[in-house]
Amino acid sequence: METVTLTIKSQPVLFLEADNITPDVFAGKSAADIASLHAYEGRDQITLGKYFDVAGKAGATAADTKIVVKGDVSRVKYIGMKMSAGEILVEKSADMYVGGWMQGGKLTVKGNVDAFAGLGMQNGELIIEGNAGNYLGAAYRGDWRGMQAGVIRVKGNAGSDIGTFMNGGTIIVEGNVDVHVGTHAEGGKIIVKGNGKSKIGGQMVEGEIYVFGTIDVMMPGYKYIEDVDLEVDGVKGKFALYHGDLGERHPKRKGQIVYGKLYQKI
């Protein structure tokens, strides 16, 4: 696997839209080719070379390409957008849309990310070692297809509206989350190892939510069913199972109504 290293030289005045920073676009290109790829700062089209020093070269395909982004890129959006294979390592914090519409490969951010990370994610692995913002793994505005598959792991806390319209895949937040978890979800699994606040699983049709810590206010449409012993992300424990959201429509399968499942650790 070949490695391309991008080191930010100076901070953009406005935010930089760098949707070309993906293994798919870099594949088969030399450092000079990569430096001449375009990015946007407001309405100005600029080159990546204006803000980044590019070293190394890309592999022949996306799968053979690893990108290391060095320096503070907290004013750079769309890193890893639509990437399908290969690897990206961001050594500090990044801005919005990290791994948006990601289709495969592995993206690691050592710092924090802002909102809309893993938006409409279709597959792959997204690891955020710091905190994530709002709308993690959610659907793009108006889309009824949120996260489809893949894994998002956040080692810190996450914001509100995570996993909105989620259809599949797994989101693991090791810290706490803000309001609205898995709203409108029709599948997938969300694991919150810290505390939740309120509006957890509102309007959920199908899917699973696990909360290890406290829930401030339970949605009224969740009904206690039973206690179950489970192993969730390597942690064994007893969980209280709730079915819901009873205010929402639910499909029938094999004569049984399918509910969203909310597990709270006891």
Binding site: V13, L14, F15, E17, Y40, E41, G42, R43, D44, M96, A115, F116, N134, Y135, Y140, R141, G142, W144, F165, V179, H180, T183, H184, S198, K199, G202, Q203, V217, M218, M219, P220, G221, K223, D245, L246, G247, E248
Partner: protein, 437 residues
């Protein structure tokens, strides 16, 4: 002798009353009196006559004083600012005509601006919910003639839309509601005991920020499922009763305002309210409508919608329309430092935005186009006074139920004062020259 102008449209709130009578002096230059309007609407007309009105553009000087400049200089400054900027914010648009909005959008397209209207701090969340789940709505005429179950959720029309209840929702005697308010059941959901709440048959004084839970609970009740003992501070018996009351009506409507759109859960509150409306349609006819604030904020959404496909927060910086409130919304842009110039027309962000955003406006090159002196014109580098739409110039406006109504001119603007549309047309021409150069 005075003369009376009838069927005047009121350019204040989204109710867009169309039955005002304005008495003007014989020479047609001054407004003497306004009939049929609410106190706020009448004041809007009388204010146009106020002494000390600014009638020429003013440029703020480094020491905070103002220097009068000509409209030509104001056009040049505005055009230069927009043409030089990489990502200007063009905000407001809710207190002007659709014709002026359209010219503004042409400028925005040329300079790659972000066009956002007051919905961003108002009913923008409603628009997000509508995009997610659709909306079963109706016109205010249908409410007047048919509705017998009226819900006001997080809104206070007594003060914000003073003639709404007398013209459309509670008191009028309509075709199928010939006993007026005696035909209707009024439910108010509000944590505060407002003047609207005092009139209600049922007032749910809920815990703050628990609207989402109560809306969800009503849906649970409609499905005859079990509820916890209390939801949002309301006992479950009351919720089952309310569900029964709603389903027993012939035609129901939910009106909602800032109390649900801008409190915890925001768009999800509206999403759930729309889904409740859909569920209620299994039992009877039900509709839902946003209590839009500015008289033409609905029009701004309409014009942006048919021109760019999105009703607010439209980012044209890359030459095509993009939209994602949270990123392309005015306060997020200002707070994060994503824009490098601000143009405001037909709104007062200085009074309504958080102080962190207003500070950013004051630090950036900025132009405010507004007939009044407002907190925004005080922080903007250039203040361009214009004629009052609906008083001194006509133009198309949309009522809160998306019905277009042509506003009328009643008197002439002060000598030499341009209208929004005239000023924007001149800026547009100059921007075109600068961008082509």
């Amino acid at each position: 002798m005075t003369k009376s102008v009838t069927d005047v449209i009121c350019p204040f709130c989204g109710t867009l009353c169309d039955d005002l009578e304005v008495v003007v002096s014989d020479d047609g230059k001054t407004i003497v009196d306004v009939y049929n309007a609410c106190a706020i609407g009448a004041e809007k007309f009388m204010h146009a006559q106020a002494s000390g009105r600014v009638t020429r553009p003013r440029m703020q000087q480094p020491d905070g004083s103002y220097k009068e400049v000509s409209y030509d200089e104001a056009v040049e400054y505005t055009a230069q600012m927009l043409a030089k900027s990489k990502k200007p914010l063009m905000y407001g648009w809710s207190s002007t005509s659709c014709e002026a909005q359209s010219v503004g959008h042409e400028i925005a397209e040329q300079v790659g601006a972000i066009v956002d209207n007051t919905a961003t701090v108002c009913h923008g969340t409603t628009l997000l919910a509508v995009q997610d789940v659709g909306i079963p709505s109706c016109t205010l005429g249908e409410v007047k003639n048919r509705a017998d179950r009226i819900i006001f959720w997080g809104c206070n029309p007594c003060h914000a839309h003073p003639r709404h209840m007398s013209r459309y929702s509670i008191f009028p005697r309509g075709f199928f509601t010939n006993k007026g308010h005696k035909n209707r059941k009024m439910i108010v959901v509000d944590p505060r005991n407002t003047d609207t709440a005092k009139m209600a048959d049922i007032h749910f004084q809920i815990e703050q920020g628990r609207d989402y839970e109560l809306l969800s609970a009503l849906r649970v009740a409609l499905r005859k499922e079990v509820l916890p003992d209390t939801v949002a501070g309301v006992p479950k018996e009351k919720i089952y009763e309310a569900a029964e009351l709603l389903t027993s009506g012939r035609f129901g409507i939910i009106f909602f305002g800032m109390g649900v759109t801008q409190t915890l859960s925001k768009n999800h509150n509206i999403d759930e309210a729309i889904m409740l409306t859909k569920d209620l349609n299994e039992f009877t006819k039900f509709s839902i409508m946003a209590m839009r604030g500015h008289y033409n904020v609905t029009g701004s959404g309409q014009v942006l919608g048919w021109q760019f496909g999105y009703p607010f927060c439209v980012d044209l910086s890359r030459g095509f329309a993009r939209y994602n409130p949270g990123e392309t919304s005015s306060n997020d842009l200002l707070r994060r430092g994503e824009v490098d110039a601000v143009f405001v027309l037909g709104s007062d962000p200085g009074a309504h935005f958080p102080i962190s955003s207003v500070k950013k406006i004051s630090e950036l090159p900025s132009v405010a186009v507004d007939p009044h002196i407002t907190p925004t014109t005080e922080v903007a580098k250039l203040h361009v006074p214009v004629a009052f739409v609906g008083v001194e110039v006509g133009g198309n406006c949309y009522r809160m139920d998306n019905v277009p109504i042509d506003a009328r001119k009643v008197v002439d603007p002060p000598e030499g004062v341009l209208t929004d549309e005239e000023f924007l047309t001149r800026v547009n021409k100059r921007v075109k020259e600068l961008m082509e150069a």
